[in-house]
């Protein structure tokens, strides 16, 4: 009972500190919120809107004889007088209207100037010999993309579309080159047929649809899933990262109370050392419990994150709480006084936290791979792993294995911390 009294007193003190509240709840939510809005999250969670990118195209392509020879054989090219025209008409397709707004520039300099003046996000410059180089089976055709360096998502999308477009044509070109090499014929009609057959053999089986595989990017449940898949692991990782900070800073209250004289005074009351230390440890655990539960619930309510089924998430949350609380006790047991805490906390928690978040920071949010393996060297890594597993709907035995490792680590941390603190206050 006294242990609980000590824990509740500490909990009350923690939640009276505005700094602690901001640190425990505000910062993780703020960071997740930044990502949420960065990726287009709005008050209406059923929509996922990427920003429309202004693209100015300087189409300098002159076409050429070689292009005309194969023009009739390539689906969708018949109306174009050059490859440049083909690219322009592709990007102007209404399918991309929600992603980009295309306009034509008079020349390359005008297009670049539009970007420099931030009137456009991306300038696409199609050189004059683009069609000629493309039509030459041994030639190399290239495009110039000039982008606003402050933008990341929009230019990336434009480049991705062009890559896909060019990959399709390059594949057909390679098929034609192989044909020429094997048959020794340079008959444009033959080359055109080969390219047509290559494009017709695409997975969709529709030659007209092979130059670009345009996916539906209109608002849908899939878009909400995408948002959740981005925000979920980020908030999850933030929750874990700050849970370990909270565990360690809360456990620091043992040292702080020692310095403030309240811990020695506790030892003058008819309360055993085990009860006092037990109460302090319990307070660390309770504080992390409150933080994690609140953050997970807010993540679901605000960002509509699906953390996974209740049982796996609960198990991993329990494991994380144990690991964060005991890790805090473990770290503090090595400190002489609170004056050392800033440096040690900053170093230990930042390094272990970043290591643990490697699977998230790499963008893959995966439990496999080198980075995921490295992250398992620290307790945060196992918590991140468990969270990813829960979110991906991993089977219960997989979750239990992760939990078992968390529990074992927690026992080690707790025993080391307990022994060191008992020795110190014996």
């Amino acid at each position: 009972m006294k242990a609980l009294d000590i824990a509740l007193k500490d909990l009350k003190r923690s939640f009276r500190s505005a700094f602690a509240l901001v640190f425990m709840f505000g910062v993780p939510l703020l960071m997740a919120g930044m990502f949420y809005f960065m990726f287009g999250g709005t008050a209406n969670a059923n929509t996922f809107n990427l920003p429309v990118t202004k693209v100015v195209i300087a189409n300098l392509d002159q076409g050429g004889e070689a292009f005309k020879n194969i023009q009739a054989q390539i689906p969708g090219v018949t109306a174009a007088t050059s490859m440049g025209d083909l690219i322009v008409s592709t990007l102007e397709d209404k399918s991309f209207a929600s992603l980009m707004q295309v306009s034509l520039g008079e020349n390359a300099e005008a297009a670049r100037t539009a970007v420099d003046q931030q009137k456009a996000g991306v300038a696409l410059i199609i050189p004059a010999d683009f069609s000629t180089r493309f039509s030459n089976l041994s030639g190399q055709a290239s495009l110039e993309l000039y982008q606003d360096p402050t933008l990341t998502i929009g230019p990336g999308i434009v480049q991705s579309i062009l890559d896909q477009f060019m990959d399709s044509l390059s594949g057909a070109k390679i098929a034609a080159a192989v044909t020429v090499k094997q048959t020794g014929s340079t008959d444009p009609a033959l080359i055109g047929r080969v390219m047509q057959q290559y494009l017709a053999a695409s997975p969709k089986g529709d030659p007209t649809g092979t130059l670009l595989d345009i996916q539906d990017i209109q608002p849908s449940s899939k878009s909400t899933d995408l948002l959740q898949k981005i925000i979920g692991p980020i908030l999850g990782a933030m929750t874990i990262f700050y849970a370990f900070f909270t565990g360690t800073t809360t456990a620091q209250s043992i040292l702080r109370e020692d310095e403030e004289g309240t811990l020695p005074r506790l030892f003058t009351t008819p309360t055993t050392q085990s009860t006092i230390l037990g109460g302090k440890f319990l307070s660390v655990g309770l504080t992390v419990v409150v933080q994690m539960v609140v953050l997970l619930l807010l993540g679901e309510l605000i960002f509509h994150i699906a953390w996974g089924s209740l049982v796996p998430v609960s198990l991993i949350t329990i494991g994380t709480i144990m690991a964060a609380a005991t890790f805090g006790i473990f770290v503090n047991s090595f400190l002489k006084d609170t004056s050392q805490s800033g440096l040690v906390f900053g170093g230990v928690l930042t390094v272990t936290g970043m290591l643990g978040m490697l699977p998230i920071l790499s963008g893959a949010a995966s439990t496999s791979g080198v980075l995921a393996t490295i992250s398992l060297a620290v307790p945060q890594g196992w918590s991140v792993r468990g969270l990813i597993q829960a979110m991906n709907g991993a089977p219960l035995n997989t979750i239990l294995l992760t939990l078992a490792v968390q529990v074992m680590m927690s026992i080690v941390f707790f025993m080391v911390g307990l022994l060191r603190f008992r020795k110190r206050y014996a």
């Binding site: 009294d5 007193k9 009350k12 004289g261 309240t262 506790l266 003058t268 009351t269 008819p270 055993t272």
Partner: protein, 313 residues
């Protein structure tokens, strides 16, 4: 043990090379105020820390109401209230919350707890400020709450470690009155201080400590008798005091001379006869006396007699 609340037998405590307490023994009778008087570093707080079970004695033992420090520390803690030298309270909790928490640590629950907390708030005169955080209190108010915590479980013995350090005269008066009130209720108080006046005013018995040793003990009257009818003369001079110390030690009728912060203390058999000789000795050294005060025999004089140093050294 009849009649004794505290019995200390041959206590020793060292911190590395520093021998903080060296073979101290004394008894404190039930219901009395017993003061440990001595300068900083004399070993007073170390003795209290051992009695409060915060430090293990290297040697010796003590018992409080029959509970041995070594054999029954929980028994000791249950009958003991401790007022530490430094404020040991939670600054971000209110006075009532602090008292409630500490009452729980002393095992109080339910209605008894609430009633006792309100009683203590009245005793320390902070009932109307009970909801304020401790950090909003003045130093004197914090001291009063600090004492209040030790009263919660109505202990029969209270240890007070220099409870009046660093507070205003009004709060100091309030604390001294509350200590006297505790005595009237039958509580035994072991009080440490380096203020001679406090020890003289409060104590039934006084033990004087220096360098970890108990150098004298008794009632105020008994201790003052050590210096007999000697007078204490304090003087200031127009130059470095140490220049005249040796000359004055040689003056007939002078027993002790000490110098601190420009003030010289002289223990003399008869101030009327000695004082002209002091002036003469000073003049022959080219030193001018700028002020003189003659004091009746007191604990300060006792300490000077026993150690050759002023109590505030």
């Amino acid at each position: 043990m009849d009649g004794n609340a505290i019995e200390i037998k041959d206590l020793y405590k060292s911190f590395g090379e520093v021998r903080a307490v060296q073979g101290v023994s004394f008894e404190v009778k039930k219901g009395e105020i017993f003061s440990l008087l001595g300068p900083n570093g004399a070993g007073k707080t170390t003795i209290l820390s051992m009695l409060a079970c915060l430090l293990h004695p290297d040697q010796g033992d003590a018992s409080i109401l029959g509970h041995s420090l070594r054999k029954d520390p929980m028994g000791v803690k249950s009958v003991l209230g401790v007022v530490p030298q430094e404020i040991a309270l939670y600054e971000d909790l209110s006075a009532r919350e602090n008292l409630t928490f500490w009452a729980k640590m002393y095992g109080l629950r339910g209605a008894d707890l609430k009633q006792r907390v309100e009683e203590v708030l009245e005793v320390i005169g902070l009932a109307d400020r009970a909801r304020d955080y401790i950090k909003k209190y003045s130093g004197g108010m914090k001291r009063r709450v600090n004492i209040g915590v030790a009263l919660l479980h109505k202990p029969q013995v209270i240890l007070m470690d220099e409870p009046t350090v660093g507070i205003d005269p009004q709060s100091r008066r309030s604390i001294l009155d509350s200590v006297m009130a505790l005595k009237q209720q039958g509580t035994t108080v072991l009080y440490t201080t380096h203020y001679m006046e406090e020890a003289q005013e409060l104590s039934d018995h006084i033990a004087i400590m220096d360098h970890g040793k108990l150098i004298a003990a008794g009632t105020n009257t008994e201790l003052v008798r050590i210096v007999g009818e000697m007078d204490r003369i304090t003087l200031t001079v127009n130059t470095e005091g140490s220049r005249v110390v040796d000359a004055w030690k040689a003056v007939r009728g002078v027993q002790k001379v000490s110098s601190e912060d420009g003030t010289l203390s002289v223990l003399a058999d008869d101030s009327n006869q000695v004082l002209p000789r002091l002036f003469e000795a000073a003049a022959s050294s080219g030193i001018r006396i700028t002020s003189v005060a003659i004091l009746e025999p007191n604990l300060e004089a006792v300490f000077l007699q026993l150690t050759g140093r002023a109590l505030r050294d």
